[in-house]
């Protein structure tokens, strides 16, 4: 792959994205850029063969790309064949065209990227872009230019007399021939100016209601997919990861600078990534403690609004001194350490465990109480039954005892009576014996009478008894024609049918 071309393409893409105010990947993805560098297309047709380049992009960027692959820089698009050949040769005896020479200088100047501090001495907005100059006390002046989008996200309102630090690189503006500082970011210089800007923005956003409690989204129950934005380096990310519980969190991390001139841009890009993906339950933004100056990115109006506008809850964990970062005020939840943020995410999971255990207890207690009640009832009722049974048994026993006592008494009396018979009442005994004898005779007589009237005796004498259906036949009507009769005689039964 052509490394030089790749770098060129990347520079061009950054510039283009900035000009359009879009993310880098909206111009071309890394893969596409690399594919272009590898294929180095020379024609539109070749360019269109590369994956990720469709008609629309070819139309929009084709000329710029092709000018680079054929060895030109984007700033030099449109120059003539002869100019190009000039640039390709060693500088020295060559005579340059002005544009080509300035182009060459600009390539060199690009390497002089720097941060410069000064006081704003003039300021003008033209076509949305910022034109201003900064100067020192000794009168040195530097002209600066800033694309509208860069200026907007800087969150700073330039005004004459304001002390600022600009980051970027110098460039000669060909139409005027003047040196201009291509500014990418501006920061306020000095705590005093920062504090003033902070207070002003805070008051304004407060008036707008951006920090109002009713705006805050509720923390999700059982958050699972977490977006994490912080710096890869430093202790905060470790503190966070060490303290977040093992509940199967799915953490999507985007590394971002959290301090310095590129912090705002990177944070913005990361937040927007999650906003477009929309696959997280909560966004976590963490950073270690710092001064107002080092936390500038978190007091940037653009970032604050972006945070307030997130469709998912945002948890911010930023250490701070006196002034709470505006991002923390706009977030749905704010802590001052990454550990606290991690614990906040753990809460519902941990509580769920306790809730399950509590519910189990309550259910078992409830059921246990119901069972206990039932057992009591059974005990009580079975107790009553037992009592009754015992009572009945007792009554029977008592009766039996009384009976046997009576019998014993009677026996005793009879014995006592028996003892007294020979001594006192022989007469009565004699009478009793006579009476018994008479009774015996009476019984014998009765037996004889009974024997005389026994039907079997009659049968033996030649009588018979006819039955029909087990009933004795007394009348003709009892034995209709055809009915079966049992005729009992002295030695058995004759079965017969009535003929007539």
């Amino acid at each position: 792959m052509n490394g030089e071309l790749l770098n060129k393409l990347r520079d061009w893409r950054s510039e283009q994205a900035r000009r359009e105010g879009v993310e880098l990947y909206r111009v071309f993805s890394n893969a596409t850029i690399e594919a272009i560098a590898a294929a180095a297309p020379k024609t539109k047709e070749e360019l269109l063969k590369i994956k990720g380049i469709k008609d629309r992009k070819c139309e929009k960027y084709g000329l710029a790309i092709l000018s680079m692959t054929s060895g030109e820089t984007p700033a030099e698009i449109g120059k003539t064949e002869s100019e190009e050949s000039v640039e390709k040769e060693e500088a020295g005896e060559r005579v340059f065209a002005v544009s080509a020479f300035l182009g060459l200088l600009n390539i060199g100047l690009r390497r002089s990227a720097a941060k410069v501090r000064g006081e704003v001495s003039s300021f003008q907005m033209r076509g949305g872009h910022a034109y201003f100059s900064i100067s020192d006390k000794d009168g040195s002046v530097m002209h600066c230019f800033m694309w509208s989008n860069d200026y907007r996200i800087s969150g700073i309102s330039i005004a004459e007399g304001l002390e600022i630090v600009v980051s970027g690189y110098p460039e000669i503006y060909k139409p005027s021939g003047k040196l201009s500082f291509r500014t990418r970011t501006i920061e306020l210089a000095g705590e005093g100016a920062l504090k003033k800007a902070y207070d002003k923005l805070k008051a304004m956003l407060e008036r707008e209601g951006l920090f109002a409690p009713e705006r805050k989204k509720e923390m999700p129950e059982f958050p699972h997919r977490i977006g994490l934005v912080t710096s890869r380096d430093g202790a905060v990310i470790h503190d966070f990861l060490n303290n977040i519980g093992r509940f199967g969190f799915k953490i999507t991390f985007i590394d971002s600078r959290v301090e310095g001139s590129s912090a705002v841009r990177e944070l913005l890009s990361a937040i927007r990534y999650f906003k477009t993906q929309k696959t997280i339950d909560a966004l976590v933004l963490i950073r270690g403690g710092g001064s107002l100056e080092s936390l500038q990115a978190f007091n940037n109006e653009y970032i604050v609004r972006e945070i307030a506008d997130c469709p998912f809850p945002v948890i911010v964990g930023i250490g701070h001194d006196k002034d709470v970062p505006l991002v923390s005020l706009a977030a749905d939840a704010a802590c001052s350490t990454p550990t606290a943020v991690a614990k906040l995410l753990n809460v519902s999971w941990e509580q769920a465990g306790a809730a399950v255990r509590l519910a189990e207890h309550r259910i078992l207690d409830g059921f246990g109480a119901a069972l206990q009640e039932r057992i009591f009832y059974i005990d009580r009722t079975s107790g009553v039954l037992e009592d009754r049974l015992r009572e009945m048994i007792e009554r029977v026993r008592r009766t039996a005892r009384r009976f046997s006592e009576s019998v014993a008494i009677l026996r005793e009396r009879i014995r006592a009576a028996g003892d007294s018979i020979p001594a006192t009442n022989r007469r009565i005994a004699g009478a009793l014996a006579f009476a018994l004898q008479a009774a015996g005779e009476k019984i014998a007589l009765s037996e004889k009478m009974l024997a005389a009237s026994d039907p079997k005796r009659q049968l033996a004498l030649g009588w018979s008894i006819a039955f029909s259906g087990g009933k004795i036949i007394r009348r003709i009507a009892d034995a209709p024609a055809g009915s079966l009769l049992d005729v009992r005689v002295s030695d058995g039964t004759i079965r017969t049918r009535v003929a007539e």
Partner: protein, 79 residues
């Protein structure tokens, strides 16, 4: 890694269930506390249901390794 992903996916499907399980458990607990005369048969049925829910919830709440993924997009600024 793949194992984790699959595990997580399964858990995601069950995610709402954890919430549901907790709600149902709470309802059952409240049922026991809200009445004086509990039918033992019905109570037993509720206890069984509760035990099952609690078991499921506990399974989801046991220690599961987190998944960590870094997104690298065209962020490299030429600064």
């Amino acid at each position: 890694m793949i194992r984790f992903v699959r595990k997580t996916k399964r858990l995601m499907d069950k995610k709402t269930n954890l919430n549901e399980s907790l709600k149902k458990l709470e309802q059952i607990a409240a049922w026991f506390e809200s009445r004086r005369d509990i039918d033992i048969e019905e109570g037993l049925k509720k206890v069984r249901e509760g035990a099952l829910l609690a078991k499921e919830a506990k399974k989801r709440l046991q220690e599961i390794e987190n998944e960590f993924e870094e997104v690298k997009k065209g962020l490299e600024e030429d600064a």
